[in-house]
């Protein structure tokens, strides 16, 4: 996927003006947090499990080479093959070589973010192989040639009319006057179309939520069952996995699974959690004859030992997106690459460079909600701040931003001047907004007040109140 993260501001401006997108965002926004909260409330141990999950991931990352070797050894013993790939080019070549060797014409795919990272579909198409996305959300996006806008609900920005229109345009062998009375009809049509694809595919490509060192298994988690059909029906199963997916044992995976679905969709457990270990055994009626894992680094080994190492704990649950006020204002496409929201703001600069994605860590109010819901306790705001510092050191921000920060810095180092200025500002704004208690426009801040009002200060600064309270008694 080509990155347009440098155009974050333009993307966001467009997104704000897109009435249909805004409708979808407003509609979905409350649902995610409500569902997660309900699931978490049912599990009193949830907070403790977050600490344990963080420790499991930290332990694994500190010994990543050991666990990867143990895992790879088990994969090979169970009849599978590991393809170690440092770069996206290596990975694309490995996938293509397998597909070409077995003479594949069509490839079905389970949902995988790493596949977006590698832009595997474009690569296969260029070589005459047809990839078919089978997750419903990914399927419609493929028909519409759009990238996903969310890491677990890739097409939530579309409405029913969009689905209907795309199905009519793509499924041209069906009667054009057919009626879609409700969502079920859309689902039934997609199911029938994709069934045929599942049965015809020569190769199935899935991602992996986890790799298990103890057993050499790859694990996928889905609700639809498309990933399972993808890895069960074709003769060849290829898994795409980045190297931080490995965990030591099944018990470690159990703990992470207790957090994953609850954090993601508010389910206790997703419908299908499936462990694949090697190829079909003798006497078995189902399963592939070949099992390949394309293991991808793509910049992750550089994050180890750096301040960004904690980001490798991420289990891609999307809770940080789902609770992010910025994400739910500008939508996923604004971020311009595979990973949106707070996790994307930290990960994207690591993977494609801060010069490409320097805007993303700035797209945060630092409200801290993301960190408070992250199941593996990644300090997302802190990591975004690290990127902001690096961006500043490399003189990447615009002259206006740098000048503004310079002015602020001058006052911040001179407390007396700072207090004088803020006192004057608080007094002035309070007078301006006296009647309504809020201000709907401000000089020099039209962009900010375009989408919201500024609550008018009550006339005092924080310092003044703090000092008054101190004098009145202990706080």
């Amino acid at each position: 996927m080509r990155a347009t993260s440098t155009a974050f501001k333009e993307n966001a401006t467009q997104a704000l003006a897109d009435a249909r997108l805004q409708k979808a965002l407003v509609f979905t926004r409350p649902a995610f947090p409500t569902r997660r909260a309900a699931a978490v409330a049912q599990l009193p141990e949830f907070e403790q499990l977050r600490d344990i999950a963080r420790d499991i991931k930290d332990h694994t990352l500190a010994n990543l080479d050991f666990y990867l070797e143990s895992w790879a050894d088990k994969v090979e013993r169970s009849g599978g093959q590991v393809h170690w790939c440092s770069t996206p080019d290596d990975a694309r070549a490995a996938v293509l070589a397998i597909c070409q060797r077995v003479g594949a014409r069509t490839v079905t795919k389970g949902k995988s973010m790493i596949s977006e990272e590698l832009a595997i579909n474009e690569h296969l198409e260029q070589h005459g192989i047809t990839p078919v996305e089978t997750d419903l959300g990914e399927y419609i996006l493929q028909l519409r040639k759009e990238p996903p806008s969310h890491i677990i609900a890739p097409a939530f920005h579309l409405n029913r009319e969009d689905w209907e229109q795309s199905f009519r345009a793509s499924h041209t062998d069906l009667p054009p006057d057919r009626v879609f009375a409700d969502r079920r009809d859309l689902l039934a049509e997609a199911r029938a179309e994709l069934r045929a694809r599942f049965l015809a595919a020569d190769v199935g490509i899935t991602g992996a939520n986890f790799l298990i060192a103890e057993t050499g298994s790859s694990v996928i988690v889905t609700n639809e069952g498309n990933g399972d059909l993808t890895q069960t029906l074709p003769r060849v199963h290829i898994v795409l996995a980045s190297l931080e997916k490995v965990v030591p044992t099944l018990e470690d995976a159990c703990t992470l699974l207790r957090l994953l679905a609850r954090s993601a969709s508010g389910q206790d457990m997703s419908v299908y959690t499936t462990f694949s270990t090697g190829t079909r055994r003798p006497g078995e009626l189902d399963g592939p004859d070949e099992y390949h894992v394309v293991l991808i680094d793509n910049g992750r080994s550089n994050m180890l030992g750096s301040p960004f190492q904690p980001m490798l704990r991420c289990i891609r649950c999307a809770a940080c997106l789902n609770h992010c006020p910025v994400y739910f204002t500008v939508g996923g496409h604004s971020y311009g690459w595979v990973y949106p929201g707070p996790m994307g703001a930290v990960l994207t600069p690591s993977l494609i460079g801060v010069d490409q994605a320097g805007h993303l860590p700035n797209a945060s109010t630092f409200c801290g909600k993301c960190e408070s819901v992250c199941p593996v306790k990644i300090p997302l705001p802190d990591l975004m701040r690290h990127w902001r510092e690096r961006e500043f050191e490399r003189h990447l921000p615009s002259l206006t931003t740098r000048a503004g920060l310079g002015v602020w810095g001058w006052f911040a180092r001179r407390p007396m001047a700072y207090r004088l200025l803020t006192r004057a500002a608080a007094w002035g704004l309070a007078r301006l907004g006296r009647r309504r208690g809020r201000l709907s426009s401000l000089p020099l801040a039209g962009g900010w007040t375009g989408g919201r009002d500024l609550p008018a200060p009550e006339g005092d600064t924080f310092f003044a109140r703090y000092a008054r309270a101190r004098r009145a008694g202990p706080i």
């Binding site: 199911r191 069934r195 103890e214 018990e251």
Partner: protein
């Protein structure tokens, strides 16, 4: 070679060489002992309540349940369910010894085919290996007598499960597999495929609204055989 390049990059970033021998022994021991972490208290219940929790969770996840006193009652339970759902009385069944041992009536009304599922099968009957009360989850390892396609292709999936195979937590179900299954190829306990199934297939991809029956079964029906006296209140 790529493998060495990646391992080398990891070690450089971590600021060390290969894991030293004594540490490697410790890590190997952790893999070997596979220690458990905190297990939620919710499934730590007396037997009858544990089984009840399992059934409640299956229903919470949009599955349905029929409880029968013995294996001999399974055919009638399945025939009754299929009739109630207006489904044909023919199905594809796992070639599992426990299912074969069930006294299926020689009635022409119940047509049974053994094997893997074909795309045309409307109903499948699978053998339930074990289950997890904590989340209402079925553990279905793919073995020669438990084909994976039976979990996926039919519109209606029926799973026959013995109550004595219900465990509290997910870790307990893995322990069963660890103890009971030997994989000839690896000497380990993992077959090619282990599915943990919690309810029927679903999707919320269209307008964020839940619909059942996305790619897998639209209905999941558990026929529970009460073979566990302490589990019956």
């Amino acid at each position: 070679m790529s493998r060495e390049a990646i391992l080398g990059a990891i070690r450089r970033s971590l600021g060390r060489g290969a894991v030293p021998r004594d540490l490697a022994i410790g890590l190997q021991a952790r893999l070997h002992a596979h220690p458990r972490h905190l297990i939620p208290a919710r499934s730590r219940l007396p037997r009858p309540q544990q089984v009840a929790l399992f059934l409640r969770n299956v229903e919470k996840e949009f599955g349905t349940v029929a409880r029968v006193p013995a294996a001999a009652a399974v055919p009638a339970a399945i025939a009754g369910y299929l009739a109630a759902q207006n489904l044909p009385s023919s199905f594809v069944m796992a070639p599992h010894p426990e299912l074969r041992a069930i006294p299926w009536p020689a009635s022409p009304l119940l047509r049974i085919r053994e094997g893997r599922a074909a795309p045309t099968d409307l109903v499948s009957v699978q053998h339930g290996y074990a289950a997890v009360a904590e989340t209402g989850t079925l553990m279905l390892p793919g073995t020669p007598d438990r084909p994976t396609t039976l979990n996926l292709l039919a519109d209606t999936a029926i799973v026959v499960l013995r109550a004595s195979r219900i465990r509290g937590a997910l870790e307990d179900a893995w322990d069963l597999l660890r103890a009971e299954w030997r994989d000839d190829r690896t000497g380990g306990f993992m077959p090619r495929n282990v599915m943990l199934v919690t309810g029927p297939s679903r999707s919320a991809d269209i307008e964020f609204t839940l619909e059942l029956g996305a790619h897998g079964p639209r209905r999941l029906h558990v026929v529970l055989i009460d073979d566990d006296p302490p589990a019956v209140e």
